[in-house]
Amino acid sequence: MLVVGLLFSGLNGLQAQVADNLNAIDEYFQNFVDDDRFSVVYISGKLFQMLGSLDKETVRMENDKDAEALIEIAQDMQGLRILSTDEDVDELYESAKKKINTSIYEPLMTVRGKDGDNMELLVRENKGKISELLLLSGGDEFVLMSFVGNLDMEKISKMAKEIEN
């Protein structure tokens, strides 16, 4: 009976943990994903891997000198989810901000502008490594972006300095 008890408690704990990991992102997006106001885009890890094999010609045609750096970072990406809309921006920003689970996400950067161009950048860590970068942004457009993967913040911030808008 003790063994069965152990098994039960072990599995229940595990189940909760796995569910936690699986749903942390989904739970967040779920509130909005079926809402017609939003445009939703998802890039899977598999698609990210395919970017590596993109024809150099195509990349050059994009006229983007940072394309190579982008593709290098893409190799570490396991998923990108983007949710955006230009309706009810402030309201959505506030409600999304309230829903951030602070036991999972740690704030990296917060901007609060007078003109409403607010931004929150959060990270989720797993075993000392950054496993998710969550960007919540207001202003003209409400954007919620989740980058999942083995993220190297050094590479990303280096690119952030160099990339042209």
């Binding site: 395919m50 994009e62 990108l80 950067m109 960007l135 980058f147 690119m159 808008n165």
Partner: protein, 171 residues
């Protein structure tokens, strides 16, 4: 029947202890699917069916892997002195594990039916159709991220500058 229930028991025990090879697992699957299978073993067949159906959906691979690992972790430390005792405890463990798995699988199916929209989002429908399109989306996302990070840093720098200016008055 090309196998004895003793052989089947042995293989099931080894399977739940995580000691079976791929070919043994295949053999186990065949045995469980054979028409002569004793009724007492039908729950294992059901278990394997659900298992494979889930695997086919690519939904819960990670979960099942962790689940199997957890089972193995729970089973392995059990090494009673007498082999008869060990066999008996393995039998109960195996039964308990199977019942638990069936109950969990049943709960999933029930919850999926009860709430068709479920907790998981079908993200595949939002994927760009070509890698080129995906690259454009990804590049725009990175530009947005970069722009926001730069803006954030610039504001932080401005604040620090203002603090410096304020400090100048108190010199």
């Amino acid at each position: 029947m090309a196998y004895s229930t003793e052989q089947l028991d042995q293989l099931l025990d080894r399977y739940f202890a995580g000691q079976t090879s791929l070919s043994e697992e295949k053999k186990l699957r065949q045995w469980l699917n054979s028409p002569e299978l004793p009724i007492a073993y039908e729950m294992y067949t059901q278990l394997f069916d659900i298992w494979e159906e889930k695997k086919a959906e690519h939904l819960d691979d990670a979960f099942f892997q962790s689940f199997e690992q957890a089972l193995h972790r729970q089973v392995q430390p059990l090494t009673p002195a007498s082999s008869r005792g060990r066999l008996r405890s393995l039998f109960w463990l195996r039964t308990a594990a199977a019942v638990l798995l069936l109950a969990t699988a049943g709960y999933w199916m029930w919850s999926e039916q009860a709430a068709p929209t479920g907790n998981t989002i079908d993200w595949a429908q939002y994927e760009p159709e070509t890698p080129e399109e995906a690259f454009r989306v990804y590049r725009n996302a990175m530009q947005k991220l970069s722009g926001d990070i730069r803006q954030g840093s610039a504001r932080a720098a401005q604040k620090v500058d203002r603090l410096h200016d304020a400090g100048a008055y108190f010199k």
